[in-house]
């Protein structure tokens, strides 16, 4: 019996030494999906609202997430959200302090989803217009760099746009509308920049009509429907994809924005003419004419020899 127990203990000890501890999170690759990436709400002062956000663990290992709400702003013309640190002073567009997401930390099983609830309480004296915050999802990591190097944190954020209903200023302006004044060939690139001087984000909707000198519409280009953060501008690029063009053309921008469909209009003219080809053609014609004249002269005998013959 003693011998048996000794053997059993030895076996168990050997097993413990050789069993490799399995990490609950494989740190070589992490994939997760957030749903939805954006949410927009039109709310009144004093209102509350709730919404679900979801994260999916796309890996074969459990992932522990921490989620938190931060304000964000946009500082460039692309529309890059800049997530502000938690201790940043509230700005005109802040909203994070009105929100909470629960639960704040959770583990998602492999290939599974987890839903959290966003709770929003709009203050009774909230400034009318736009307010913006982001729900940031951050998978946690137990790993630290052992030598010189970097620890890596990954985050993905769901953006929340709030529009507090009430009297606001809506003011969008076209600050740039241009195309190359003269081109030899198409395609012709038309650049537009729209600035938002209002109190809430806008999404201009419109078209650019390219017309010839007779006013006939040759092409209708659509302005991409993008949001413009208040106090920022957005650039748009439309390309008239046609190579062989000749003459004067006009581009008419007509768009609307805001609650009341306020207009945005602009018009430019530009010229396209394949002058090298035209020059080559003209030169060819001139050469042909000259050659034919030269040939004619050589074929007819000179006047004096004709007279001499006659005499």
């Amino acid at each position: 019996m003693k011998k048996y127990l000794k053997t059993l203990l030895l076996t168990i000890s050997l097993l413990l030494l050789t069993v490799t501890p399995v990490s609950s999170q494989d740190d070589n690759e992490r994939t997760f999906t957030i749903v939805p990436p954006t949410m927009q709400f039109r709310v009144k002062q004093g209102e509350t609202l709730e919404a679900k956000v979801k994260v999916r663990n796309e890996t074969d290992n459990p992932l522990t997430f921490t989620i938190f709400v931060r304000d964000f702003i946009v500082e460039d013309k692309l529309g890059t959200p800049k997530i502000l640190p938690p201790d940043e002073a509230s700005n005109r567009w802040s909203a994070a302090k009105w929100m909470t997401v629960l639960p704040e930390s959770f583990t998602v099983s492999p290939r599974s989803s987890f839903e959290s609830m966003l709770y929003v309480q709009i203050p009774g004296d909230a400034t009318y217009g736009g307010h913006y915050a982001a729900i940031v999802f951050e998978p946690s990591s137990q790993s630290t760099v052992s030598g010189s190097g970097a620890s890596i944190v990954t985050q993905s954020a769901s953006l929340i746009y709030l529009h507090i209903l009430g009297p606001i200023t809506e003011n969008g302006q076209i600050t740039l509308f241009q195309a190359p004044k003269f081109s030899e060939y198409g395609p012709v690139k038309i650049e537009t920049e729209i600035a938002n001087f209002g109190d809430v984000h806008i999404k201009p909707i419109g078209t650019i009509e390219v017309k010839d000198i007779f006013g006939k519409t040759l092409k209708t280009l659509t302005l991409k429907e993008d949001n413009i953060f208040p106090g920022r501008a957005k650039t748009y690029e439309n390309v008239w994809q046609k190579k062989w063009l000749a003459g004067k053309f006009t581009a008419n921008l007509a768009a609307t924005y805001g609650e009341n469909g306020l207009p945005l209009t602009a018009i430019i003219s530009f010229y396209v003419f394949p002058w090298k080809v035209a020059l080559a053609i003209v030169l060819a014609i001139v050469i042909i004419i000259l050659l034919s004249k030269f040939k004619k002269r050589n074929l007819s005998p000179p006047e004096f020899s004709k007279k001499a013959k006659n005499n």
Partner: protein
């Protein structure tokens, strides 16, 4: 006298029996229609002004699908108010129909107009004769009649004939030299068949070149087919009925598949093994000269990039792949911030950023690293990376690095449309000078993937 008359009557009955045709059934009968979708016809429930892109209708189980060509009809006069209205969608409650074509000058009037989508179908009726049909016999096809006043409008009672012409009817098996069409009774009749032997397969196509007959509108519960009877009768040359049969065909709404596609953004980060050539790992990265490969001796993970021993005689490279997918039409943007310069916590010494002090987002611009000139930074490559900023990667000199700060981000990659598995490779480059103090240097880099605002 009476008994005599009875005898005469019985005699006549015996010797001159009334010829009765014992009608049989046509066999193997079927009517195949090219679409079983019911037509739609809903009365307008609220006035709609000209230019609007939607109209309110009563829910009578009519279904309008995207790309349907709808028409507004004045009920009183059967006149078309507007045709060619392109349907975009219908509300789940079936009480609003949305259009891509705006309503015309007349708009739509409640109580007066009906929104219709006539669905036409070709009918192919096949049957086998039971009894011989003599030459100039008749064939009668009887459909449930629809709207005979306005034949172009669908009906709840049967098939509107839509001004069916005799040239729209074809027959094979026998020939037919005269067709008649009566919309009010639903009868299509061949009044002069060629002789047809018994057991002959006959095929009649109604709408031989294009579908003509208009399917009835829906009356049964959603999901249950409406059934309609089609009768076929054959007659001999004297008009005596020979065979008759009735079949049923069903019209059922198209199965409306409702599915929700969630808006998503998926972010993957993965380490890259040691001795991996960057361009091999990401086809969006050009291969510079000399070839750039990870060389720290340590494989990166999703959460740690170990630069190994930094040397003043060479540049150490490590790398990770960041992959983004999103179905948001506005696309995505990938940015990076850091806790600060690569720093030795014990001594406080910081290794210089490749590009120098960060003074703003993406400012200053990334620059190349030179071996032996102390510097640390990240370089990115991939299809969504701005090569004008990060370098075109043909040589070491035009492969550029920068390290963001806590306050200012660097834009790594962006795309303004939905993308699938767009890969960006982050290359970590570090080198020290001969006077860089020894020690362990660390920082924390944060990568943030968001939709574009």
């Amino acid at each position: 006298m009476k008994s005599f008359l009875i005898k005469v009557f019985l005699f006549l009955l015996f010797f001159f029996p009334v010829k009765t045709a014992i009608a049989g059934n046509l066999t193997n009968v079927k009517d195949t229609i090219t679409t079983s979708r019911p037509s739609a016809a809903s009365p307008v429930s609220a006035d709609a002004a000209a230019g609007l892109g939607a109209v309110s209708v009563y829910d009578n189980k009519s279904i309008y699908l995207a790309s349907d060509s709808a028409q507004l009809v004045k009920t009183a006069t059967n006149a078309f108010v507007q045709t060619g209205i392109n349907v975009a969608s219908q509300s789940a409650a079936r009480t609003t129909v949305y259009f891509t074509t705006p309503l015309g000058a007349s708009g739509a009037m409640a109580g007066a107009d009906v929104l219709i989508v006539p669905i036409t179908a070709k009918h192919t009726i096949v049957f086998k004769t039971e009894t011989y049909i003599s030459a100039t016999g008749d064939l009668e096809i009887i459909l449930s009649p629809g709207n005979s006043t306005n034949q172009a409008s669908p009906s709840a009672t049967g098939f509107s004939f839509n001004n069916l012409q005799t040239t729209d009817i074809a027959i094979s098996g026998p020939t037919c030299s005269a067709w008649t069409v009566t919309a009010s009774t639903g009868i299509i009749k061949c009044t002069s068949l060629s002789a047809v032997a018994a057991n002959t397969t006959v095929t009649v196509t109604i709408g031989s070149t294009l579908p003509v007959l208009i399917n009835p509108t829906k009356t049964a519960t959603i999901g249950t087919a409406d059934t309609w009877a089609v009768s076929l009768v054959t007659y001999d040359a004297t008009g005596i009925e020979l065979d008759r049969t009735k079949v049923k065909i069903g019209t059922i709404e198209s199965v409306m598949v409702r599915a929700t596609v969630e808006p998503t953004l998926t972010f993957t980060i993965a380490g890259i093994a040691d001795l991996t050539q960057i361009s091999t790992n990401n086809v969006g990265c050009t291969n510079p000269s000399p070839t750039q490969s990870t060389n720290t001796g340590i494989t990166s993970t999703a959460t740690v990039v170990d630069m190994g021993i930094l040397s003043n005689g060479a540049i150490s490279y490590a790398a990770q792949d960041l992959t983004i997918s999103t179905n948001m039409s506005g696309g995505y943007v990938l940015t990076a911030t850091s806790s600060g310069q690569l720093k030795n916590p014990a001594t406080g010494y910081k290794i210089a950023n490749a590009q120098g002090a960060v003074v703003g987002n993406d400012n200053p611009v990334p620059v190349a690293i030179t071996s032996g000139a102390e510097a640390f930074g990240i370089h990115v490559c991939g299809y969504d990376v701005a090569s004008a900023t990060w370098g075109i990667r043909t040589t070491t000199a035009n492969t550029k690095y920068a390290l963001p700060s806590a306050a200012y981000y660097y834009t790594l990659a962006s795309e303004t449309t939905a993308v699938t598995s767009s890969k960006t490779t982050v290359v970590y480059g570090g080198t020290v000078s001969a006077t860089t103090p020894p020690g362990l240097y660390t920082t924390v880099l944060t990568y943030v993937a968001t939709p574009i605002f």
